[in-house]
């Protein structure tokens, strides 16, 4: 993704270049439009949205919708706003990301530097698990969570996200460590370092980029998950996405579009910030997730 453009570009006149820029800008507007709509309408009073132009800047500027979305809006039965669910998501995301990344790193290390008979089939099985439609596991998972006594809890969701994130984290680290020179492992073996010491002293210090990629990927996926949250969370463990959907699609009362938009931005904010701060790594994760093997 990095680097300058192709040395051989379309040889084109000024008009053609202007057309290219025009097309690119039109698409930029298309991609930015929904974000713009959410932003401007989240700071308008409700009647200005109803009677006014959705694409216009606010005439009356107000932060009330944000306050309402955060701490007052009716979610389900309680007028708590989204804040407790934001916290639920955080409490769920952090351990889920850390555990799955750590296990993925160890798995990638074993699958590349300590290969044994059958390592390929094991990796294949783990990789396929990234793609299964999760509908196929919903029914038994509900039962198992119940049997383990963690149904409806944040820990239950953490476990679910760790399990179904393992395929991807393993894939990321496997591909990264595959390119890591095996001679370094041999050198360290002769130097007398064992399995864990080699991992800790030789591979881990060089794993910064892939750790960032994996953490971002897992963070984005777990934060944005809806299906597992909707299926396995109780009211007091619901993640942000589920709460937002409850807020937006609740059929009772007046539709407070401005609050919905403010809530949507709140739900998008953590992943958006991660994307803005480290977009490069985000893209690398997407690529690694798409181009396998």
């Amino acid at each position: 993704m990095s680097g300058a453009g192709n040395a051989v570009a379309l040889r084109s006149g000024a008009i053609a270049r202007a057309a290219i820029y025009a097309v690119l800008i039109v698409f930029a507007v298309y991609y930015l439009l929904p974000l713009f709509v959410m932003l401007v309408n989240s700071v308008k009073p409700l009647d200005e949205i109803r009677s006014g132009n959705m694409l216009a800047l606010p005439e009356v500027f107000t932060f009330t919708p944000w306050v309402q979305a955060w701490s007052e809006a009716q979610i389900g039965v309680e007028p708590t706003g989204l804040s407790p669910y934001f916290v639920n998501s955080l409490v769920m995301v952090v351990p889920a990301v850390l555990i799955s990344t750590f296990l993925g790193a160890l798995n990638g290390y074993v699958l590349t530097k300590w290969q044994f008979r059958g390592h390929r089939i094991i990796f294949g099985l783990m990789l396929f698990s990234c793609f299964i439609p999760f509908q196929i596991v919903l029914i038994p998972m509900a039962r198992i969570l119940g049997l383990l006594g963690i149904a409806g809890t944040t820990w239950g969701l953490v476990m679910v996200h760790v399990v179904y994130g393992l395929g991807f984290t393993t894939l990321f680290f496997r591909n990264y460590y595959d390119a890591f020179p095996s001679e370094l492992v041999r050198a360290a073996t002769i130097d007398g370092a064992g399995f864990f010491r080699i991992f800790q002293r030789i591979l881990l210090p060089s794993s910064g980029p892939i750790i960032v990629v994996t953490v971002i990927w897992q963070f984005t996926n777990v934060w944005n998950d809806f299906l597992f949250g909707a299926s396995f969370a109780d009211f007091d463990s619901q993640p942000m996405t589920v709460a937002l959907n409850n807020l937006v699609s609740s059929s009772t009362g007046v539709k407070e579009y401005n609050v919905h938009f403010a809530g949507a931005i709140l739900a998008a904010l953590p992943t958006l910030i991660v994307y803005i701060v480290s977009g490069r790594y985000f893209v690398r994760g997407l690529m690694a997730g798409a181009v396998k093997g």
């Binding site: 290219i20 439609p133 399995f195």
Partner: protein
């Protein structure tokens, strides 16, 4: 400790370290697949039952109007989603590859929707496409009184609004995949083609685009499996409505299993989804992992 014993422990260690993850995957993925597969052959309704009833659920499933709607919708949504994302993604990638000033700004703008939750995307588009306050309303205010755009309320057209929102979310990602492919092409090949006198159009049609084959394949696999799994976006945008007009297999499975208490039918629909995805993913993974072998 005797050398041999210590060496044996060292030999076993990697397997020991891998085993927790592998056991988790084995149970929670493959065990669960078997379990759901088994349920699809039972008369489970609200709770799992273990009484086998053969293929009854599958016959029932394919007799249901909702399921045929879901499959029809998946065909419309899947084809349009894949084709439009690919066209836009490839087009933008080629344009961005023309030594564009401001590429560093445009690329992240094209790509940021991928970082958002489908629930957020659905919320934004739900109100933007709402005739009462959204696009139609805006056009009326701008003086285009006859403008009408109420697909999201239209049983026949609502599925296309899902395509619009989904394309918005994923096309930038496809762009990034093609751009990476373009940047990976050996410049000397392009120089050679230019020396051979290929025009820009021919250069792309005859040399560049054929060389992007792997990117096309990856894009297809990723988009196809996302289409089959599409759930959150439908819930947020239309909640399967109006009526059940935007039902997709994923929403079908959920509602039949958990709200209509037809677990057997729900399980069989999940099995069908798995078969659809597996028939795309397994050949792809197989070929990708095989190539690595050499």
């Amino acid at each position: 400790m005797p050398m041999r014993l210590r060496n044996q422990i060292q030999d076993l260690l990697p397997r020991l370290v891998l085993s927790p993850s592998f056991v988790l995957i084995l149970i929670f993925v493959y065990g669960f697949i078997v379990f759901t597969g088994y349920l699809s052959f039972t008369d489970s309704r609200m709770l799992p039952s273990f009484d086998l009833v053969g293929f009854t659920n599958y016959f029932k499933l394919f007799g249901l109007r909702h399921w045929s709607t879901a499959l029809g919708n998946l065909a419309i949504f899947g084809i349009l989603y894949i084709v439009i994302c690919t066209v836009i993604g490839l087009g933008l990638a080629i344009l961005l590859d023309q030594k564009i000033r401001g590429e560093g700004v445009l690329r992240p703008v094209f790509l940021y929707p991928m970082a958002l939750s489908f629930i957020v995307t659905g919320t934004a588009w739900k109100w933007f496409l709402d005739p009462g306050i959204g696009l139609e309303h805006v056009m009326h205010l701008w003086g285009w009184e006859s403008f009408e755009f109420r697909w999201i309320k239209d049983r026949d057209m609502a599925i296309y609004t899902i395509v619009i929102a989904a394309v918005w979310q994923s096309s930038g990602f496809v762009m990034a995949m093609f751009l990476a492919g373009l940047r990976g092409i050996d410049n000397e090949i392009l120089k050679a083609a230019q020396i051979d006198g290929a025009s820009a159009w021919r250069l792309y049609r005859r040399i560049v685009i054929p060389m992007l084959r792997p990117a096309f394949l990856s894009a297809f696999v990723v988009l196809a499996h996302l289409a089959i799994k599409a759930y959150d976006l439908v819930i947020a945008l239309t909640n399967g409505g109006p009526g059940r007009a935007t039902e997709l297999p994923a929403t079908f499975m959920y509602s039949y299993t958990f709200t209509r208490n037809q677990m057997g039918v729900g399980a069989s629909s999940a099995v069908i989804m798995l078969i659809m995805i597996a028939s795309i993913i397994i050949p792809y993974l197989y070929s990708e992992l095989r190539e690595k072998r050499t």
